[in-house]
């Protein structure tokens, strides 16, 4: 095909194409974005799968994530160690799930992970309180926050355990028509 890039082997690019929603060109573009974040850390040659991870602080300063109140949680939920250090694989994975080609179910799963602050597979009241505070920049009074969170759980909780399991969350989010268009980052 005449591509003269030396960053990845052809086999690696094929694997990326199959495992994500990106084409070869986009993967190369993603690599250059990843490289820009820390030019001295990220090698230009990925043919032998180097083990390079970028810290959370570098990634959340990207313009696509900078204004997002959940940027820390997004990066953490895609990182292996849960601390937000992303290798290139995880970086690509993150933008692949958040791209517009990803199906609704996949996005719903990751949305659930993002909002689950204490990573216990349930959205409990503390998770909701943290989400709400991030959303409103803490401009509601604590009583108002508690009231809103209680009402939210009451509305969405189907199995009556005062927490939102994934089934509850999915049921609530799939009824909204614009979830796909809002849960989407273009890079």
């Amino acid at each position: 095909m005449g591509n003269k890039q030396t960053i990845f082997t052809d086999e690696q690019l094929d694997a990326y194409q199959d495992c994500t929603f990106f084409t070869r060109k986009e993967i190369l573009r993603l690599h250059s974005r990843y490289h820009e974040l820390a030019p001295h850390l990220v090698p230009m040659d990925y043919t032998n799968d180097p083990d390079c991870k970028l810290p959370l602080a570098l990634i959340v300063n990207m313009p696509e994530l900078n204004e997002n109140p959940f940027r820390n949680r997004i990066v953490e939920s895609f990182s292996e160690d849960g601390m937000g250090n992303l290798s290139f694989n995880e970086f690509v994975d993150m933008f692949s799930v958040l791209s517009e080609m990803a199906p609704r179910e996949l996005k719903a799963i990751y949305a659930f992970k993002i909002y689950d602050f204490n990573v216990d597979n349930y959205l409990c009241k503390e998770d909701l309180v943290k989400t709400l505070n991030r959303l409103t920049k803490e401009e509601l009074t604590p009583e108002e926050v508690v009231l809103v969170c209680e009402k939210a759980i009451e509305e969405a909780d189907l199995d009556g355990d005062n927490k939102l399991s994934y089934a509850d969350f999915e049921n609530m989010i799939t009824r909204a028509p614009d979830f796909l268009s809002t849960f989407h980052i273009r890079i």
């Binding site: 199959d18 994500t20 084409t23 517009e100 179910e105 509601l140 009231l147 028509p177």
Partner: protein, 695 residues
Amino acid sequence: MEEHKTVNFMRLLSDDSTHSTVSSDSCEYYQTEIFDLLPSIQASRPEQSRKPSEAYQDGPVPGEESVYGHLSSGPRDKAPTQPLRNMVICIQGKRSARERRKMQISESWRRSQSINRKRVLAQIGGALSGLLPWQHTLHAIEGRFGVGVKAYFVFLRYLVHLNLLHCVLICGLILGPTLFYSITKSSEPLKFGGNDSVLDFFLGSGYLDRSPVFYGFYTRGSLNMQCLNTPLLYLAGILTILFLSLILVVRRTTVGYKHTWMLGKRYSMNVSYKIFGGWDFTIQDPAAAALKHSFIRNDLKLFLEEQSFSRREAQRTLGQRVRLYLLRFFLNLLVLALLGGAFYLIYFATKTSQDVIGHHWLVSLVLEYLPPIAISFVNLLLPQIFRKISSFEDYSFTMQVNAMLVRSIFLKLASLGIYLFFIFKTTKKPHAVQCLENLFGREMYKLCIFNFLTAFCNAFFLNYPRKLLHEKYPSSFLARLWGKQRFLVPFNVLDLVYSQTVSWVGVFYCPLLPLIEAVTLMATFYIQKFSVLRCCVAEQRMFRGSISSVLFHFMLLLGLLMAAATLGLNLYQPEGTHMSSCGPFGNGQSVFNVTGVCVDSLPGPAQSTLRYLASSAFALPLILAEILILTSYVSRGRANQKAIERLKEMLVMSSSDKRFLVKQHTTMLRRQRNPCRVRPATIEENQPLTPSHEN
């Protein structure tokens, strides 16, 4: 042992009701041994756990086999054909899964081709939507003012497209045949001469009277076959326009309505969605992000206000309630009185404007425009009074906004309707030469021009000076009194609906009105864009219901129905009362005559079918069938609703059963492991109640 176990079981039951070794709080419930073995947890567990050690080796095997559909019945069945991209494991795991599957080169190539195809289609779609006019303007407006203001501009663009479509139809069916087949009685080309002046463009007389703008231009011409003649084409054109508009508007209304219905009527109170789906992840601009934060906060504050209002409302005593209802009744009477006064004012203006002869040209210009001036004045003043009135009625905030909106919509459309009623009933036929239909067309034309002039003057002579005042003298008395300009979306949309209704009513009498309307709307777009981007500040409170597109299209539908009704009533006249002497239906023919002649000329079967379709023997069964279908849909919907409620209850019950059983099991296991903690006395005292319990 079994009996003891049974006894333990019974004993635990009563122990647990007072205190239990497993706390009723959920923490320990989720950490019990049996909890991990439950099938529902097993199905969801593997895709959540990604141990780092596994990732770089063979990849989590369960990960591939249980895909994200842990709620579906057979996840393992779907696994081999599930595309790799859609799996919920990290990329390394997907790579290993890929190797395990050992995909053929051709298969992987085929998959990548299909995704390339989808991408190309998506890009074409993106390019086409970029071709839509003013796309970047709308994007800029959305970033600075939010979705509500953008919805107004989207609606405006939709109306421009609608009017352009009408123009195409008119050119094809009405203007084209007339120009082509016209027998020019007086073969002079249309030019400025005689008594024509620039004022004609404002009054619609003189030069414009003779031009294709008005009804009188469209004579029967040389196209005179029985079923294909100019009058019939004219009629067909008008009817097509109205039907097409009806279909388009109804379709848009129902699509929007289905969306809001699908979210349930709880959508506006659906706080959980506001929290989890409220943030738009595509926002990258700090100003847009700040605006979104404030929207979300105000949305939630509105919700809290609703809650506190409904609490207050529930605490009203009977005496307070009676007083309130009485007050509301009197206020509604006041509203009706105000509406009556407004209608009388319009009638008076219509009457006054009809004798314009013998005045100075400026005075006669003002007199001719007196009805539109009266209508605009009424529509400017009364909504403010309605807002004051609704603040006394003690409704919740959303109800207040809705009440004011409903009253304003009714006022606007009814004032137009009353005005049309008056001019259709009271216009005297001045001379034998002049065309009555042209007079009607002229009134519609004047309304259209006046709307545009109002928008223009509002933007440049009211909003812009206001903004300058705020910039130069921000602390002066006038600046503080006047306040900053806010773009009120529902009222601006109402103005658009009003002008579109005028266009629909007037298209029969003034066929080029859609063209004029389209041009005016495009100019209005730029005027409003200037007004919004330069002179307004963002509205902080967003009333969801009032900016919904369902409401806009429903208002448009009301306007269309009113236009169709007015037109139909005006055209349906008993034979002999009025013979029009101009236009396509001149020479004593009416609309119904023309169609009658055509139907008579058709072959026998077609003729009898048409007569049957138009008769009441067909209409009645049709209406009955529609009623039956509607009833079946409604009852099916109700049955589904009941089924949903039952299933929800079942879910809660089985979930609490599960919790109870897990707790029991855990407590039993613990007692087995720590037998010294169990109270020995109780075991011996109790009889085995159900010895057959275990085996």
